[in-house]
């Protein structure tokens, strides 16, 4: 599987990059990660032998069809799910459970606590996990909400916000924590197309400003190319590494971008390529 993928990449324009360009210690790495899920008919292997490395300031996108275990990998990195085998390390130290050094932005809108205002939601982890004073927490929360463009909704409760605004609050809450790595699990999948593209652009801007390190999960090739500096492609049932591609500096809607989309598609679905011919 891996061999064929490597071969396919070499004849195309995207550069294969199994290791990050920087030589420094990766912020996050997994080695030989396998994950098992308890399903209705007993256990099944969801992820098989996946190795990832994310360098400081990098934006790695896990991309694959549904059933490739990309969300499961993210949950394992977050510490919600323990590996069947292999290791997950954060700055060289093994991950043993959830913690505020890896903040997750989920797809579901109910990730905001409904009994807290937008501001209260962003302040909550700053007070509880970072143990900041109320004044400091308030200042940093207001600052984070301003960066995602939500200065006027500070005192609104989640049910008064649109889906896009809720995701903005969730992004602000995660960014304000300044985690070692920001984990995003298809955060825009439940949004309409217009809102999604605005949030993608705004996310890129705030993540670049904050020089945040990002692990982003999506099944959209376009979104992966927009957000990522590197893509990690996975096959389905179980999730195995297909290829790792360097996609930094692609200009959206440029010919190179369109070409990259086709290439990534062909890597993910090699049989579809054959059927087209």
């Amino acid at each position: 599987m891996t061999g064929r993928a490597a071969e396919a990449v070499s004849v195309h324009s995207l550069r294969r990059s199994d290791v990050p360009v920087t030589a420094s210690l990766p912020v996050l790495s997994t080695k030989g990660l396998s994950l098992v899920y308890d399903g209705a008919r007993g256990q099944h292997l969801a992820v098989d032998n996946v190795g990832l490395e994310i360098a400081q300031g990098e934006r790695l996108v896990l991309l694959g069809p549904s059933g490739c275990g990309k969300s499961t990998i993210l949950k394992a990195v977050a510490g919600f799910h323990s590996p069947a085998s292999g290791t997950i390390s954060l700055r060289g130290k093994p991950v043993s459970g959830p913690g505020p050094d890896r903040v997750v932005v989920f797809q579901e809108f109910d990730q905001l606590l409904p009994w807290k205002t937008a501001l209260g939601n962003v302040m909550f982890p700053l007070l509880r996990a970072r143990k900041l004073s109320r004044t400091e927490a308030r200042q940093q929360a207001e600052d984070a909400l301003e960066r995602v463009g939500l200065t006027r909704a500070l005192n609104q409760f989640p049910h008064e916000l649109s889906g896009g605004m809720k995701q903005r609050v969730a992004i602000a809450r995660a960014l304000a924590m300044r985690p070692d790595v920001l984990l995003m699990d298809e955060p825009f999948a439940a949004l309409d197309a217009l809102t999604r593209s605005r949030l993608q652009a705004d996310l890129l801007r705030v993540v670049e400003d904050a020089k945040a390190t990002l692990l982003f999960v999506t099944h959209s090739i376009e979104e992966a190319l927009l957000i990522g500096t590197r893509l990690h492609l996975l096959s389905a049932h179980p999730g195995r590494t297909l290829a790792t591609l360097d996609v930094a500096g692609l200009i959206p809607a440029s010919p190179a971008f369109t070409r990259a989309k086709t290439e990534v598609h062909d890597l993910l679905f090699p049989q579809a390529e054959a059927a087209d011919v």
Binding site: P98, G99, V103, V104, R128, A129, P158
Partner: protein
């Protein structure tokens, strides 16, 4: 006529009709008129006194017959029982939230005891605790603990997975996790458990007081009703019933509705 400012124009009446409180008051007034008419037609004050007579008896009972005192006796017993029951229920639910065996145990107990009317335990309570307030408090606890525990358990179970993960993501565990994530997320169910518990306790208490009235020297509302029925003061029986209804309404609308408006409704967790 039409130049008088107080005249109700059709538009203004239609506007008033939009107000729920106005519509409810109209229902009450209609019920009152119906009562008065039926009583007039029956013309038998011992079976059914008129509303006006009942209201007169109510005022008189407040003034001369210590009705307020009786209401206070009932309420104070109720508050003691309710408070004790909630403390016990909270401990049980907290244990159940933390431990699987405790959860199984509580679920079994709830399934067994929730359908058992609390008043059915009164004979046993009298045997164990004697003819005093302890017996009442025992049946009150039984009336409150199980429905509240049932609602609380269901509330905790229905907390969205994402909110649990968010709490764990920020490193919350144990009591902090329960207090900061689970309890507020389950608040709609907890409040409905409190309401059901209150309603059950109130009914059970009045029923228990009917069976044996005198506690701590003076009787409660149930005893007031029972005593007046024996003496065929039917208007005072109705006056006592009105007070039972009134207290129920005040607690429902004044206390629980206020809490709901300031919490779960404001947060959009309940319509």
């Amino acid at each position: 006529m039409s130049d008088l400012p107080i005249v109700l124009r059709p538009a203004r009446i239609a506007h008033l009709w939009e107000n729920q409180i106005v519509r409810r008051l109209v229902v009450l007034v209609l019920l009152g008129i119906l009562w008065e008419l039926v009583a007039l037609w029956q013309n038998n004050p011992i079976m059914l006194p008129r509303l006006s007579t009942t209201l007169g008896a109510l005022v008189e009972a407040f003034r001369d017959d210590r009705l307020l005192g009786a209401a206070w006796v009932s309420l104070s017993v109720l508050l003691k029982g309710y408070g004790l029951a909630l403390s016990i229920a909270l401990v049980l639910v907290a244990l159940a939230a933390a431990n699987r065996f405790a959860r199984d145990a509580l679920q079994t107990l709830t399934a067994m005891f929730n359908p058992l009317p609390a008043i059915a335990l009164l004979p046993l309570a009298l045997l164990w605790f004697g003819l005093n307030e302890s017996s009442l408090i025992f049946v009150l606890c039984h009336a409150v603990i199980w429905p509240f525990a049932l609602a609380a358990l269901q509330g905790f179970e229905s907390v969205p997975e994402t909110q649990r993960l968010v709490g764990r993501n920020y490193g919350l565990r144990g009591p902090a996790f329960v207090a900061l994530i689970l309890a507020p997320a389950a608040l709609p169910s907890l409040l409905s458990g409190l309401k059901i518990g209150w309603a059950f306790a109130w009914r059970t208490l009045i029923a228990a007081e009917l069976v044996f009235g005198v506690s701590s020297g003076s009787g409660g509302l149930g005893w007031f009703i029972y005593r007046n029925r024996n003496e065929l003061y039917t208007d005072k029986v109705f006056a006592g019933l009105l007070v039972v209804i009134l207290i129920g309404l005040i607690v429902e609308l004044g206390v629980f509705r206020t809490i709901e408006n300031r919490t779960v409704r404001r947060w959009g967790m309940q319509k």
